[in-house]
Symmetry: C2
Amino acid sequence: MTQQKIIDESLILFAQQGYESTSLANIADAVGIKKPSLYNHFDNKEAIFLAVLQDVAQREMKYLTEQAELSANHTIYERLHHIYQVYLDHMADSTEGLFFKRVTFFPPETFADEIKNVFLRVEEAMTTVIHPVIEAGIEEGVLRPLSLDSLTSAFYTLIDGLFLEENFYDREVFKQRQQASWDIFWLGIKDPSWEE
Amino acid sequence: MTQQKIIDESLILFAQQGYESTSLANIADAVGIKKPSLYNHFDNKEAIFLAVLQDVAQREMKYLTEQAELSANHTIYERLHHIYQVYLDHMADSTEGLFFKRVTFFPPETFADEIKNVFLRVEEAMTTVIHPVIEAGIEEGVLRPLSLDSLTSAFYTLIDGLFLEENFYDREVFKQRQQASWDIFWLGIKDPSWEE
DNA sequence: TTGAGACTAACAAACGTTAGTTAGTCGAGG
DNA sequence: CCTCGACTAACTAACGTTTGTTAGTCTCAA
């Protein structure tokens, strides 16, 4: 269907260039039709963006919860690290991740409300994935008995920091930085009396 | 001087709206002259942006090193925390911070190289500020005897993460997150045998 | 035969930029 | 002391291009 292709191609362009810098001509080219033909499928440019936004939100939440189930029967360390790794890779490499970051970071003014709404929904999905792991970690004595919120916050900050840095360092340096940051994060959350 | 006023007003507009969405008409209006008069002071729009970029880079580095000297005779914890706090506050509140965030995170393609260059220069200035503190911390036994690089990396990641998150959360939630992330970072780098 | 979906042609508005002009300032030479 | 010429910095008018959008037409499948 052409309509879905418009959404798919627009997603890529919005992710790469942002909303304002992506023209209907760009989109039409990518889809392989002429610019006015877009109006057979959407009322205007804004409608295209909103369609993309909803599409991404839905897929993102699905992906997140799927991944979390994959590491269910492992140690706390492994489960946390898996979420961390998967989420980071996803945000760094996927078009959805890039789109998501761009749109939440510098939202086109017109869509500020819808975007914030989507962001909070996705974050909530993320939280429901992490919380059980951290709770179990505290209970088992693997993690320091800090507040659930504190541990979750620090986890987010770690991921967000590395996401940003991914833009600026070449792969080698970045790997190194990722390793160091994770190790120190783990030292920060791990209960010192826990050994194994 | 008109030229400096153009830079100042452009900085505000670029910070608020980004490069592409800021038109020469916007800038001219803010300065209080007509659009073509801008060409008496700059060759083109790109030249205006580059002037703003250099201006910001310079001021940013100056501010950074100034602030570091302020806490010279304090404990390792205080010195590190001061750098961290000052840097984040600055990024949150100042127009320069917003501009810096915007251009480093989603650089206008044309200026990708210059921007990367500026980012690395600012980071280098930051490194010369932090390294002595960390080295002293290891020597005195306050910090874990990890590699200098590892500790520095983790510090950057912490700052970068919060730097990014400033956009997502309202002030209250952010303060909370900042506190939690710092505490856990400190637990991660502090030598467990050090007490005081 | 009707409707969906492509097309061409054209629109006004906004974009960055150039050309040409004018008024004011400043220093050097007669 | 005055004046000429260069310079600065503002202006109006217009350029060609691109923007999002609309109107009207053609085609093909149901």
